[in-house]
Amino acid sequence: MPKVATWHLPVADLETKPYWDATAQGTLLIKECHACGHVFFYPRNHCPSCWSTDTTWREASGRGTVYTFTVVYQNDLPPFRDRIPYVVAIVELDEGVRMTSNIEGVTPEDVRCGMPVQVGFRDEQRGDETIAIPIFRPA
Protein backbone atom coordinates (compact mmCIF):
# COMPACT_ATOMS: atom_id res chain seq x y z
CA MET A 1 0.00 0.00 0.00
CA PRO A 2 1.32 3.52 -0.77
CA LYS A 3 2.22 5.60 2.28
CA VAL A 4 -0.62 8.02 3.09
CA ALA A 5 0.34 11.50 4.28
CA THR A 6 -1.02 12.36 7.73
CA TRP A 7 1.14 15.31 8.85
CA HIS A 8 -1.71 17.69 7.99
CA LEU A 9 -4.33 15.90 10.15
CA PRO A 10 -5.32 17.51 13.45
CA VAL A 11 -3.76 16.26 16.66
CA ALA A 12 -6.44 16.80 19.30
CA ASP A 13 -5.27 18.03 22.70
CA LEU A 14 -6.75 18.69 26.14
CA GLU A 15 -8.35 21.92 24.98
CA THR A 16 -9.73 20.66 21.69
CA LYS A 17 -10.74 17.00 22.13
CA PRO A 18 -14.48 17.83 22.48
CA TYR A 19 -14.34 19.67 19.14
CA TRP A 20 -12.93 16.68 17.24
CA ASP A 21 -15.19 14.23 19.10
CA ALA A 22 -18.12 16.35 17.87
CA THR A 23 -17.00 16.54 14.24
CA ALA A 24 -16.89 12.72 14.27
CA GLN A 25 -20.60 12.89 15.14
CA GLY A 26 -21.32 15.41 12.36
CA THR A 27 -21.52 18.42 14.69
CA LEU A 28 -19.59 21.69 14.48
CA LEU A 29 -18.78 23.30 17.82
CA ILE A 30 -17.68 26.84 18.62
CA LYS A 31 -17.04 28.40 22.01
CA GLU A 32 -18.90 31.01 24.01
CA CYS A 33 -17.86 33.02 27.07
CA HIS A 34 -20.33 33.10 29.94
CA ALA A 35 -18.68 36.16 31.45
CA CYS A 36 -18.79 38.55 28.48
CA GLY A 37 -20.89 36.73 25.87
CA HIS A 38 -18.05 36.65 23.31
CA VAL A 39 -18.36 33.82 20.77
CA PHE A 40 -15.02 32.63 19.42
CA PHE A 41 -13.06 30.26 17.21
CA TYR A 42 -10.52 28.63 17.25
CA PRO A 43 -11.50 27.08 20.58
CA ARG A 44 -9.35 27.55 23.67
CA ASN A 45 -9.88 27.19 27.39
CA HIS A 46 -10.16 30.92 28.12
CA CYS A 47 -12.04 33.72 26.39
CA PRO A 48 -9.53 35.65 24.23
CA SER A 49 -11.60 38.79 24.74
CA CYS A 50 -11.95 38.99 28.56
CA TRP A 51 -9.72 36.10 29.73
CA SER A 52 -12.51 34.48 31.72
CA THR A 53 -12.15 30.71 31.89
CA ASP A 54 -15.91 30.38 32.29
CA THR A 55 -16.37 29.29 28.67
CA THR A 56 -18.56 26.63 27.13
CA TRP A 57 -19.00 24.70 23.89
CA ARG A 58 -21.92 25.62 21.69
CA GLU A 59 -23.25 23.91 18.57
CA ALA A 60 -22.89 26.10 15.48
CA SER A 61 -25.60 26.37 12.85
CA GLY A 62 -23.05 25.34 10.24
CA ARG A 63 -24.35 28.09 7.96
CA GLY A 64 -22.10 30.89 6.80
CA THR A 65 -20.70 32.85 3.90
CA VAL A 66 -17.34 32.92 2.15
CA TYR A 67 -15.37 35.92 3.50
CA THR A 68 -12.45 35.31 1.15
CA PHE A 69 -10.83 32.41 -0.70
CA THR A 70 -8.14 31.25 -3.10
CA VAL A 71 -7.98 28.48 -5.64
CA VAL A 72 -4.72 26.61 -5.00
CA TYR A 73 -3.09 25.43 -8.23
CA GLN A 74 0.35 24.60 -6.81
CA ASN A 75 1.35 22.69 -3.68
CA ASP A 76 4.17 20.16 -3.82
CA LEU A 77 3.26 18.52 -0.48
CA PRO A 78 1.25 15.31 -0.23
CA PRO A 79 -1.69 14.91 0.08
CA PHE A 80 -2.46 18.32 -1.45
CA ARG A 81 -0.45 17.82 -4.64
CA ASP A 82 -3.02 15.19 -5.63
CA ARG A 83 -5.97 17.49 -4.87
CA ILE A 84 -5.12 20.57 -6.93
CA PRO A 85 -6.94 22.66 -7.89
CA TYR A 86 -8.78 23.07 -4.59
CA VAL A 87 -10.37 25.97 -2.73
CA VAL A 88 -9.12 27.33 0.60
CA ALA A 89 -11.49 29.82 2.18
CA ILE A 90 -12.17 31.84 5.27
CA VAL A 91 -15.80 31.14 6.14
CA GLU A 92 -17.74 33.52 8.34
CA LEU A 93 -20.35 31.56 10.30
CA ASP A 94 -23.76 33.10 11.02
CA GLU A 95 -22.66 33.24 14.68
CA GLY A 96 -19.99 35.77 13.65
CA VAL A 97 -16.85 33.65 14.01
CA ARG A 98 -14.50 32.81 11.16
CA MET A 99 -12.74 29.56 10.34
CA THR A 100 -10.30 28.40 7.69
CA SER A 101 -11.72 25.60 5.54
CA ASN A 102 -12.11 24.13 2.08
CA ILE A 103 -15.06 24.73 -0.23
CA GLU A 104 -16.10 21.50 -1.94
CA GLY A 105 -18.92 20.47 -4.25
CA VAL A 106 -18.40 23.39 -6.61
CA THR A 107 -16.18 24.19 -9.58
CA PRO A 108 -13.30 26.06 -7.88
CA GLU A 109 -13.47 29.00 -10.28
CA ASP A 110 -17.17 29.51 -9.41
CA VAL A 111 -16.54 30.33 -5.73
CA ARG A 112 -17.25 33.97 -4.81
CA CYS A 113 -16.91 36.18 -1.73
CA GLY A 114 -20.27 36.35 0.00
CA MET A 115 -21.37 32.94 -1.29
CA PRO A 116 -23.65 31.16 1.23
CA VAL A 117 -22.22 27.84 2.40
CA GLN A 118 -23.17 24.97 4.71
CA VAL A 119 -20.82 22.80 6.76
CA GLY A 120 -20.11 19.22 5.81
CA PHE A 121 -17.46 16.74 6.94
CA ARG A 122 -14.62 15.04 5.04
CA ASP A 123 -13.39 11.79 6.53
CA GLU A 124 -9.64 11.22 6.46
CA GLN A 125 -7.66 8.25 7.80
CA ARG A 126 -4.69 8.17 10.16
CA GLY A 127 -3.98 4.51 10.60
CA ASP A 128 -7.18 2.99 12.02
CA GLU A 129 -8.44 6.37 13.17
CA THR A 130 -11.05 8.27 11.11
CA ILE A 131 -10.92 12.03 11.50
CA ALA A 132 -13.84 14.19 10.33
CA ILE A 133 -12.60 17.51 8.93
CA PRO A 134 -15.22 20.28 8.67
CA ILE A 135 -15.51 21.59 5.11
CA PHE A 136 -18.16 23.72 3.42
CA ARG A 137 -20.36 23.33 0.35
CA PRO A 138 -22.60 25.84 -1.40
CA ALA A 139 -25.83 26.17 0.63
Binding site: W7, H8, L9, P10, V11, A12, D13, T16, F41, Y42, Y67, T68, F69, T70, V71, V72, Y73, Q74, N75, D76, L77, F80, R83, Y86, V88, A89, I90, V97, R98, M99, T100, S101, N102, E109, C113, G114, E124, I133
Partner: protein, 382 residues
Protein backbone atom coordinates in the same frame (compact mmCIF):
# COMPACT_ATOMS: atom_id res chain seq x y z
CA UNK B 1 20.93 61.61 30.78
CA UNK B 2 19.89 62.26 27.20
CA UNK B 3 19.33 59.13 25.12
CA UNK B 4 22.03 58.35 22.61
CA UNK B 5 21.10 58.57 18.94
CA UNK B 6 21.64 55.45 16.83
CA UNK B 7 23.05 55.21 13.31
CA UNK B 8 23.46 52.52 10.69
CA UNK B 9 27.22 52.42 10.24
CA UNK B 10 27.73 49.53 7.87
CA UNK B 11 25.70 47.42 5.46
CA UNK B 12 26.50 44.57 3.08
CA UNK B 13 25.03 41.61 1.27
CA UNK B 14 26.83 38.31 1.09
CA UNK B 15 26.89 36.69 -2.32
CA UNK B 16 23.29 36.04 -3.28
CA UNK B 17 21.26 34.57 -6.12
CA UNK B 18 22.40 31.01 -6.62
CA UNK B 19 25.34 30.18 -4.35
CA UNK B 20 25.75 26.39 -4.44
CA UNK B 21 29.29 26.41 -3.04
CA UNK B 22 28.77 27.96 0.39
CA UNK B 23 26.97 26.99 3.60
CA UNK B 24 24.43 29.30 5.21
CA UNK B 25 26.77 29.99 8.14
CA UNK B 26 29.56 30.82 5.72
CA UNK B 27 27.30 33.37 4.02
CA UNK B 28 26.46 34.86 7.42
CA UNK B 29 30.17 35.46 8.06
CA UNK B 30 30.72 36.77 4.54
CA UNK B 31 28.01 39.43 4.97
CA UNK B 32 29.10 40.27 8.52
CA UNK B 33 32.74 40.74 7.51
CA UNK B 34 31.78 43.05 4.64
CA UNK B 35 29.38 45.11 6.78
CA UNK B 36 31.95 45.52 9.56
CA UNK B 37 34.56 46.57 7.00
CA UNK B 38 32.02 49.03 5.59
CA UNK B 39 31.68 50.47 9.11
CA UNK B 40 35.43 50.51 9.71
CA UNK B 41 34.97 48.18 12.67
CA UNK B 42 36.48 44.87 13.76
CA UNK B 43 34.64 41.72 14.88
CA UNK B 44 35.88 42.37 18.42
CA UNK B 45 33.97 45.68 18.44
CA UNK B 46 30.64 43.83 18.23
CA UNK B 47 28.92 43.61 21.60
CA UNK B 48 25.34 42.97 20.41
CA UNK B 49 24.22 40.15 18.10
CA UNK B 50 20.78 40.07 16.49
CA UNK B 51 19.87 37.10 14.31
CA UNK B 52 17.27 34.45 13.65
CA UNK B 53 17.00 31.41 11.43
CA UNK B 54 15.19 28.11 11.22
CA UNK B 55 17.25 26.40 13.91
CA UNK B 56 16.67 26.46 17.66
CA UNK B 57 19.04 28.76 19.60
CA UNK B 58 20.22 30.27 16.32
CA UNK B 59 21.97 33.31 17.89
CA UNK B 60 24.09 30.93 19.99
CA UNK B 61 25.01 28.79 16.99
CA UNK B 62 25.87 31.88 14.97
CA UNK B 63 27.77 33.66 17.74
CA UNK B 64 29.88 30.58 18.31
CA UNK B 65 30.52 30.10 14.58
CA UNK B 66 31.58 33.73 14.21
CA UNK B 67 33.80 33.50 17.31
CA UNK B 68 31.80 36.22 19.10
CA UNK B 69 30.73 36.25 22.75
CA UNK B 70 28.31 39.20 22.68
CA UNK B 71 26.90 40.51 25.95
CA UNK B 72 23.62 41.41 24.31
CA UNK B 73 21.67 38.94 22.16
CA UNK B 74 18.28 39.01 20.46
CA UNK B 75 16.78 36.08 18.55
CA UNK B 76 13.29 37.41 17.87
CA UNK B 77 11.72 35.31 15.09
CA UNK B 78 8.61 36.91 13.60
CA UNK B 79 9.30 36.09 9.94
CA UNK B 80 10.71 38.41 7.30
CA UNK B 81 10.13 41.52 9.40
CA UNK B 82 12.44 40.24 12.16
CA UNK B 83 15.19 42.57 10.87
CA UNK B 84 13.07 45.68 11.33
CA UNK B 85 12.13 44.39 14.79
CA UNK B 86 15.86 43.94 15.48
CA UNK B 87 16.59 47.56 14.53
CA UNK B 88 13.80 48.66 16.84
CA UNK B 89 15.25 46.53 19.65
CA UNK B 90 18.86 47.52 18.92
CA UNK B 91 17.93 51.19 19.06
CA UNK B 92 16.47 50.61 22.51
CA UNK B 93 19.52 48.71 23.69
CA UNK B 94 22.01 51.24 22.31
CA UNK B 95 20.02 54.24 23.58
CA UNK B 96 20.03 52.68 27.03
CA UNK B 97 23.74 51.95 26.92
CA UNK B 98 23.30 48.17 26.98
CA UNK B 99 25.49 47.75 23.89
CA UNK B 100 27.45 50.01 21.52
CA UNK B 101 27.88 48.04 18.30
CA UNK B 102 24.95 45.87 17.16
CA UNK B 103 25.41 43.33 14.37
CA UNK B 104 22.33 42.08 12.50
CA UNK B 105 23.27 39.04 10.44
CA UNK B 106 21.29 36.75 8.16
CA UNK B 107 21.73 34.13 5.44
CA UNK B 108 20.17 31.00 3.99
CA UNK B 109 20.84 28.61 1.13
CA UNK B 110 17.11 28.22 0.46
CA UNK B 111 17.42 27.99 -3.31
CA UNK B 112 20.31 25.53 -3.37
CA UNK B 113 18.68 23.42 -0.65
CA UNK B 114 15.60 23.06 -2.87
CA UNK B 115 17.79 21.99 -5.80
CA UNK B 116 19.62 19.55 -3.53
CA UNK B 117 16.17 18.22 -2.56
CA UNK B 118 16.84 18.70 1.15
CA UNK B 119 13.77 20.92 1.50
CA UNK B 120 10.35 21.20 -0.16
CA UNK B 121 8.93 24.31 -1.83
CA UNK B 122 5.91 24.35 0.46
CA UNK B 123 6.33 24.02 4.20
CA UNK B 124 4.57 21.30 6.20
CA UNK B 125 3.37 22.81 9.49
CA UNK B 126 2.39 19.99 11.85
CA UNK B 127 -1.26 20.10 12.86
CA UNK B 128 -0.71 20.64 16.58
CA UNK B 129 -1.91 23.56 18.69
CA UNK B 130 -3.73 26.28 16.73
CA UNK B 131 -2.42 24.75 13.48
CA UNK B 132 -4.79 21.79 14.00
CA UNK B 133 -7.56 24.11 12.76
CA UNK B 134 -5.76 24.96 9.51
CA UNK B 135 -3.24 22.39 8.33
CA UNK B 136 -5.84 20.00 6.92
CA UNK B 137 -6.92 22.59 4.38
CA UNK B 138 -3.67 23.03 2.42
CA UNK B 139 -3.59 26.81 2.85
CA UNK B 140 -0.10 27.44 1.50
CA UNK B 141 1.93 30.54 2.30
CA UNK B 142 1.05 31.92 -1.13
CA UNK B 143 -2.60 30.99 -0.58
CA UNK B 144 -2.70 32.97 2.68
CA UNK B 145 -1.57 36.09 0.82
CA UNK B 146 -3.83 35.33 -2.14
CA UNK B 147 -6.86 35.44 0.16
CA UNK B 148 -5.96 39.04 1.02
CA UNK B 149 -5.84 39.87 -2.68
CA UNK B 150 -9.21 38.22 -3.31
CA UNK B 151 -10.83 40.26 -0.54
CA UNK B 152 -9.18 43.52 -1.66
CA UNK B 153 -10.44 42.96 -5.20
CA UNK B 154 -13.93 42.17 -3.87
CA UNK B 155 -14.18 45.22 -1.60
CA UNK B 156 -12.40 47.83 -3.69
CA UNK B 157 -12.48 46.62 -7.29
CA UNK B 158 -8.71 46.23 -7.42
CA UNK B 159 -7.66 44.31 -10.55
CA UNK B 160 -5.04 41.67 -11.23
CA UNK B 161 -3.57 44.10 -13.78
CA UNK B 162 -3.03 46.66 -11.01
CA UNK B 163 -1.29 44.05 -8.87
CA UNK B 164 0.80 43.17 -11.90
CA UNK B 165 1.95 46.81 -12.18
CA UNK B 166 3.84 46.27 -8.92
CA UNK B 167 5.78 43.29 -10.30
CA UNK B 168 6.50 45.23 -13.50
CA UNK B 169 7.88 48.20 -11.52
CA UNK B 170 10.08 45.98 -9.33
CA UNK B 171 11.50 44.35 -12.47
CA UNK B 172 12.18 47.75 -14.04
CA UNK B 173 14.13 48.69 -10.91
CA UNK B 174 15.98 45.36 -10.95
CA UNK B 175 17.07 46.01 -14.53
CA UNK B 176 19.24 48.81 -13.09
CA UNK B 177 20.84 46.56 -10.45
CA UNK B 178 23.56 44.35 -11.94
CA UNK B 179 23.33 41.95 -9.00
CA UNK B 180 19.57 41.34 -9.28
CA UNK B 181 18.65 37.77 -10.24
CA UNK B 182 15.98 38.71 -12.79
CA UNK B 183 16.66 41.81 -14.89
CA UNK B 184 14.77 41.39 -18.17
CA UNK B 185 11.81 43.81 -18.32
CA UNK B 186 8.33 42.31 -18.05
CA UNK B 187 4.87 43.63 -18.91
CA UNK B 188 1.49 43.52 -17.19
CA UNK B 189 0.48 40.92 -19.80
CA UNK B 190 3.49 38.78 -18.85
CA UNK B 191 2.41 38.79 -15.21
CA UNK B 192 -1.29 38.02 -15.66
CA UNK B 193 -0.39 35.50 -18.36
CA UNK B 194 2.05 33.63 -16.13
CA UNK B 195 1.01 30.39 -14.46
CA UNK B 196 -1.74 30.59 -11.82
CA UNK B 197 -0.30 29.63 -8.41
CA UNK B 198 -3.06 30.61 -5.97
CA UNK B 199 -5.78 32.77 -7.48
CA UNK B 200 -5.60 35.68 -8.04
CA UNK B 201 -1.79 35.46 -7.78
CA UNK B 202 0.31 34.28 -10.71
CA UNK B 203 3.90 33.10 -10.78
CA UNK B 204 5.17 36.62 -11.46
CA UNK B 205 3.14 38.03 -8.54
CA UNK B 206 5.33 35.89 -6.26
CA UNK B 207 8.80 36.55 -4.91
CA UNK B 208 11.70 34.60 -6.27
CA UNK B 209 13.70 32.12 -4.20
CA UNK B 210 17.39 32.79 -3.74
CA UNK B 211 20.35 31.98 -1.57
CA UNK B 212 22.18 34.70 0.30
CA UNK B 213 22.08 37.08 3.19
CA UNK B 214 23.68 40.13 4.62
CA UNK B 215 24.44 42.23 7.65
CA UNK B 216 23.70 45.61 9.16
CA UNK B 217 25.85 47.29 11.81
CA UNK B 218 24.28 49.86 14.14
CA UNK B 219 26.31 52.06 16.46
CA UNK B 220 25.82 54.66 19.18
CA UNK B 221 26.25 58.28 18.14
CA UNK B 222 29.52 58.63 20.03
CA UNK B 223 31.09 56.10 17.61
CA UNK B 224 29.91 57.94 14.50
CA UNK B 225 32.82 60.38 14.24
CA UNK B 226 35.20 57.50 13.43
CA UNK B 227 33.07 56.06 10.62
CA UNK B 228 34.39 55.98 7.07
CA UNK B 229 30.93 56.63 5.60
CA UNK B 230 27.97 58.93 6.16
CA UNK B 231 25.90 57.81 9.18
CA UNK B 232 22.32 56.84 8.42
CA UNK B 233 20.26 57.85 11.44
CA UNK B 234 17.40 55.75 12.74
CA UNK B 235 14.84 58.54 13.22
CA UNK B 236 11.92 56.33 14.13
CA UNK B 237 11.27 52.63 14.64
CA UNK B 238 8.22 50.63 15.67
CA UNK B 239 6.72 47.18 15.40
CA UNK B 240 3.25 45.66 15.32
CA UNK B 241 1.84 42.16 15.49
CA UNK B 242 -1.41 40.70 14.24
CA UNK B 243 -2.41 37.05 13.77
CA UNK B 244 -0.69 33.74 13.12
CA UNK B 245 -3.83 31.67 12.42
CA UNK B 246 -5.51 33.09 9.31
CA UNK B 247 -9.03 33.04 10.76
CA UNK B 248 -7.81 35.42 13.49
CA UNK B 249 -6.99 38.21 10.98
CA UNK B 250 -9.75 40.75 11.48
CA UNK B 251 -9.49 42.58 8.15
CA UNK B 252 -7.83 40.89 5.18
CA UNK B 253 -7.43 44.26 3.47
CA UNK B 254 -5.38 45.86 6.24
CA UNK B 255 -1.74 45.22 7.13
CA UNK B 256 -0.70 45.70 10.77
CA UNK B 257 1.82 48.14 9.24
CA UNK B 258 -0.90 50.70 9.87
CA UNK B 259 0.05 50.56 13.55
CA UNK B 260 3.84 50.25 13.26
CA UNK B 261 3.89 53.04 10.67
CA UNK B 262 1.82 55.41 12.77
CA UNK B 263 4.27 55.04 15.65
CA UNK B 264 7.47 55.09 13.55
CA UNK B 265 6.45 58.17 11.55
CA UNK B 266 5.27 59.81 14.80
CA UNK B 267 8.55 59.13 16.60
CA UNK B 268 10.50 60.50 13.64
CA UNK B 269 8.24 63.51 13.24
CA UNK B 270 8.03 62.74 9.52
CA UNK B 271 5.06 62.47 7.14
CA UNK B 272 4.76 59.95 4.28
CA UNK B 273 4.74 62.85 1.77
CA UNK B 274 8.31 63.72 2.87
CA UNK B 275 9.73 60.27 2.05
CA UNK B 276 12.20 60.16 -0.86
CA UNK B 277 12.69 56.41 -1.14
CA UNK B 278 10.65 53.46 0.11
CA UNK B 279 11.75 49.89 0.76
CA UNK B 280 8.94 47.48 1.62
CA UNK B 281 8.56 43.74 1.88
CA UNK B 282 7.37 42.36 -1.45
CA UNK B 283 6.85 38.67 -0.82
CA UNK B 284 3.90 39.05 -3.20
CA UNK B 285 2.45 41.97 -5.16
CA UNK B 286 -0.47 42.17 -2.71
CA UNK B 287 2.02 42.63 0.16
CA UNK B 288 3.20 45.87 -1.44
CA UNK B 289 -0.33 47.08 -2.15
CA UNK B 290 -1.58 46.61 1.42
CA UNK B 291 1.65 48.09 2.79
CA UNK B 292 1.37 51.28 0.70
CA UNK B 293 -2.12 51.82 2.09
CA UNK B 294 -1.15 51.00 5.68
CA UNK B 295 1.86 53.32 5.58
CA UNK B 296 -0.42 56.15 4.47
CA UNK B 297 0.99 56.74 0.98
CA UNK B 298 -2.57 56.36 -0.31
CA UNK B 299 -5.95 55.81 1.27
CA UNK B 300 -7.38 52.42 2.15
CA UNK B 301 -8.67 50.71 -0.97
CA UNK B 302 -6.82 53.15 -3.24
CA UNK B 303 -3.70 51.04 -3.73
CA UNK B 304 -4.76 49.70 -7.14
CA UNK B 305 -4.99 53.02 -8.98
CA UNK B 306 -2.03 54.34 -6.92
CA UNK B 307 0.49 51.85 -8.33
CA UNK B 308 -0.51 52.42 -11.96
CA UNK B 309 1.71 54.27 -14.39
CA UNK B 310 5.07 53.21 -12.96
CA UNK B 311 4.77 55.27 -9.77
CA UNK B 312 7.00 52.80 -7.89
CA UNK B 313 9.88 52.88 -10.38
CA UNK B 314 13.13 54.70 -9.60
CA UNK B 315 12.07 57.60 -11.83
CA UNK B 316 8.48 57.52 -10.55
CA UNK B 317 6.86 59.64 -7.83
CA UNK B 318 7.54 57.07 -5.09
CA UNK B 319 10.71 55.05 -5.84
CA UNK B 320 10.08 51.72 -4.13
CA UNK B 321 12.28 48.63 -3.79
CA UNK B 322 15.02 50.29 -5.78
CA UNK B 323 17.15 47.12 -5.87
CA UNK B 324 14.35 45.13 -7.53
CA UNK B 325 13.02 43.72 -4.26
CA UNK B 326 12.11 40.16 -3.50
CA UNK B 327 10.08 39.98 -6.68
CA UNK B 328 13.18 40.36 -8.86
CA UNK B 329 16.47 40.76 -6.97
CA UNK B 330 16.73 38.19 -4.17
CA UNK B 331 14.63 36.44 -1.50
CA UNK B 332 16.32 33.86 0.72
CA UNK B 333 13.28 33.55 3.01
CA UNK B 334 13.26 36.37 5.57
CA UNK B 335 14.14 39.27 3.33
CA UNK B 336 13.70 42.24 5.68
CA UNK B 337 17.43 42.83 6.12
CA UNK B 338 17.84 43.72 2.44
CA UNK B 339 15.30 46.54 2.80
CA UNK B 340 17.56 48.19 5.39
CA UNK B 341 20.70 47.59 3.33
CA UNK B 342 19.20 49.17 0.20
CA UNK B 343 17.70 52.13 2.09
CA UNK B 344 21.10 52.87 3.66
CA UNK B 345 22.82 52.69 0.26
CA UNK B 346 20.27 55.09 -1.23
CA UNK B 347 20.63 57.56 1.64
CA UNK B 348 24.43 57.41 1.39
CA UNK B 349 24.17 58.11 -2.34
CA UNK B 350 25.94 54.86 -3.19
CA UNK B 351 23.23 53.09 -5.24
CA UNK B 352 25.16 53.33 -8.48
CA UNK B 353 22.96 53.06 -11.56
CA UNK B 354 19.76 53.19 -9.55
CA UNK B 355 20.33 56.15 -7.24
CA UNK B 356 17.27 58.21 -6.29
CA UNK B 357 18.36 61.84 -6.60
CA UNK B 358 18.79 63.78 -3.33
CA UNK B 359 17.46 60.93 -1.20
CA UNK B 360 17.47 62.25 2.38
CA UNK B 361 14.60 60.34 4.00
CA UNK B 362 13.69 56.68 3.59
CA UNK B 363 10.90 54.54 4.98
CA UNK B 364 11.36 50.80 5.44
CA UNK B 365 8.59 48.33 6.19
CA UNK B 366 9.17 44.64 6.78
CA UNK B 367 6.26 42.22 6.80
CA UNK B 368 6.56 38.83 8.47
CA UNK B 369 4.57 35.64 8.19
CA UNK B 370 1.31 36.29 6.34
CA UNK B 371 0.69 39.91 7.31
CA UNK B 372 1.38 38.65 10.84
CA UNK B 373 4.01 41.16 11.92
CA UNK B 374 5.39 44.44 10.63
CA UNK B 375 8.31 46.64 11.53
CA UNK B 376 8.57 50.19 10.22
CA UNK B 377 11.74 52.30 10.20
CA UNK B 378 12.25 55.92 9.24
CA UNK B 379 15.87 56.55 8.24
CA UNK B 380 17.60 59.80 7.34
CA UNK B 381 20.93 61.48 6.63
CA UNK B 382 22.13 64.94 7.72
Amino acid sequence: MARRKVAIAGVAESRFGEVPDATALQLHQEGAALALADAGLKPSDVDGLFSCGADIMHPLILGEYLGLRPGYVDGTQVGGSSWEFFVHHAVGAIEAGLCDVALLNYATTSRSDLKRKIRSANVAIEARGPAQFESAYGHTVIGRHAMAATRHMFEFGTTQEQLAEIAVAMRANASRNPLAMYRDPITVEDVVGSRAICSPLHKLDCCIRSDGGGAVVLVAEDRVKDLPSKPVWVLGAAEATSHHTMSEWQDFTESPARYSAERAFGRAGVKPSEIDVLEVYDSFTITVLLTLEALGFCGKGEGGPFVEGGRLTIDGDLPTNTDGGGLSSNHPGMRGIFLIIEAARQLRGEATGRQVRDAKLAAVNGTGGWFSSTGTLILGVD
